[in-house]
């Protein structure tokens, strides 16, 4: 039996939900709006909402002065590289745990989860020291490896929960028909696993893109991604609201768009399958 809802009740829900939603979204909206203002309009009193002269000037200035493209490129390489590397290492592991489970599978999964709980600050100096000794400080390669390692437990877990949903009978049948392990993986498993792998890639790309402990502490100039680029606005440039907004908008826009596609995976990925 469907719940019958009066139009009034539905209208009230809608109005309330939209009001709350817009309030929560407002800081982002305000940042985007401010990025199109001049510096004078950005601090005008009373504040200007839509009635200002829209300009793209700030984007040009930020781009020119801070070499935005280099930071963006570093973010893409670091987030993309660590995700790709993580998936390459995690797919075989998750596959094995999902389809050839042993008594120890659960222990291994939980142990992997526990490494994710290790507070970064607890191992800050060792990693810092290793980076100096190995010449990895302020290199993209070093960050790719570190971010891959901190996200690897989440990647394994997400893939494991997706793989477990693939019915084992199909694999049994293929084995009966004499399919080799290679054929099994290439022709049967891969097509069924692609959506799960894609979701995993998406969420972990976002997590790596926004990571702001290691990216701030292990980079200086050459490998600094967008998180560090924005942190450099901390002072005194941060007081130029329009430019700060333009820089911020450029840093978050790609991820906001990707994020909207990954809402569902967010729950699965961040609760380790405990809430579905």
């Amino acid at each position: 039996m469907a719940r019958t809802v009066t139009i009034q009740r539905k209208s009230l829900n809608t109005a309330l939900a939209w009001a709350v939603g817009l309030l929560i979204f407002f800081p982002i909206l305000w940042t985007i709006l401010t990025s199109f203002k001049t510096e004078a309009q950005a601090i005008a009193s009373p504040p200007l909402f839509l009635n200002f002269d829209w300009t793209l000037e700030n984007y040009a200035v930020v781009q020119e002065r801070s070499n935005y493209m280099r930071f963006l490129w570093n973010s893409v390489i670091i987030a993309g590289g660590s995700t790709l590397l993580g998936v390459i290492i995690a797919v075989p592991a998750a596959w094995a745990m999902a389809f050839v489970p042993s008594k120890r599978t659960k222990d291994i999964l939980l142990w992997m989860l526990s490494t994710k709980m290790l507070p970064a600050v607890g191992v800050l100096y060792p990693i810092y020291l290793l980076f100096i000794r190995l010449g990895l400080l302020d290199t993209r390669g070093g960050l790719v490896v570190v971010l891959m390692l901190i996200n690897l437990p989440i990647i394994v877990w997400m893939l494991y929960t997706y793989f477990r949903e693939i019915p084992g009978e199909i694999l049994e049948a293929a084995r009966m028909d004499g399919a080799t392990l290679k054929e099994e993986i290439l022709h049967i498993l891969t097509p069924m696993a692609v959506p799960g792998i894609a979701s995993t890639v998406l969420l972990n790309f976002i997590l790596a893109w926004n990571e702001a402990f290691w990216t701030l502490n292990l980079t200086a100039v050459d490998a600094a991604p967008l998180t560090a680029f924005i942190a450099s606005y901390s002072s005194p440039e941060g007081l130029f609201f329009a430019k700060l907004s333009a820089a911020s908008t450029m840093a978050i826009a790609p991820i906001l768009i990707l994020g909207w596609f990954s809402q569902k995976q967010l729950v699965r990925g961040l609760t380790f399958g405990a809430v579905k």
Binding site: M117, G238, L244, V275
Partner: protein, 288 residues
Amino acid sequence: MATQHSRSVARLMMAPAVVLLLGWMLVPLTMTLYFSFKKYLPLRGGDLGWVGFDNYIRFVSSSSFWPAVQATLVIVIGVLAITVILGILLAMLLDQPMWGQGVVRILVIAPFFVMPTVSALVWKNMFMDPVNGLLAHLWRFFGAEPVSWLSEASMTSIVMIVSWQWLPFATLILLTAIQSLDSEQLEAAEMDGAPPLKRFYHIILPHLSRAITIVILIQTIFLLSIFAEIFVTTGGAFGTRTLTYLIFQRVLESQNVGLGSAGGVYAIILANIVAVFLMRIVGKNLDA
């Protein structure tokens, strides 16, 4: 049935991930433990020998320790209270029939995708700046004196910023849990004339208890280690120096690695206490 052959192949497939994570855990952990028992000042003499538990004692007896514990607790408890309570209300609201539900969901979730340095800086300058910030405009509009948020109400400000970032996470998970609630049970209660508050306490809240526990545990682990939000707003000033930030300052700013490492060991122990509870819940779910 898994054969002996497929078992050894499976082991081989797991090996890279297991070996890498084992190395990632053991190598730095061993080093942190090692340094924590040494007087080690890289810029002022380097390794000055073993000192036993001296660093552990000095870390907790330093005058900045208890304020840091307090700051950490205020942030964790404050943000948890705000995000869980508002998250439940918001999840219940979003579960109601309405127009444009998908769009509202997107609006509510968006802050989670904003990188921490951006949200901290946008809040700090464009909202909390005592002269040009939007909140200052709002305060003046109502004839009140604008607040210097990050210096006068520093903890409130940080809790506000971090809550804004984590509310979407709590809401999303609680919403997912609410949607799995059997609506017939609620309808039956409604027909029996149970008032809304009773329905909430006896049906909705018990159903959500597991999801709430998970939200609390996961957020606690992340909140214990927030860094960027403090790094770009107050830099640890005005009483906002958390344990994580204190350790960061000891290790990288004052380069007292021995002392910082002892602090790191405390942080690891603390996180593990929380993690044990989380793993119990997750583990139970694996059996099901």
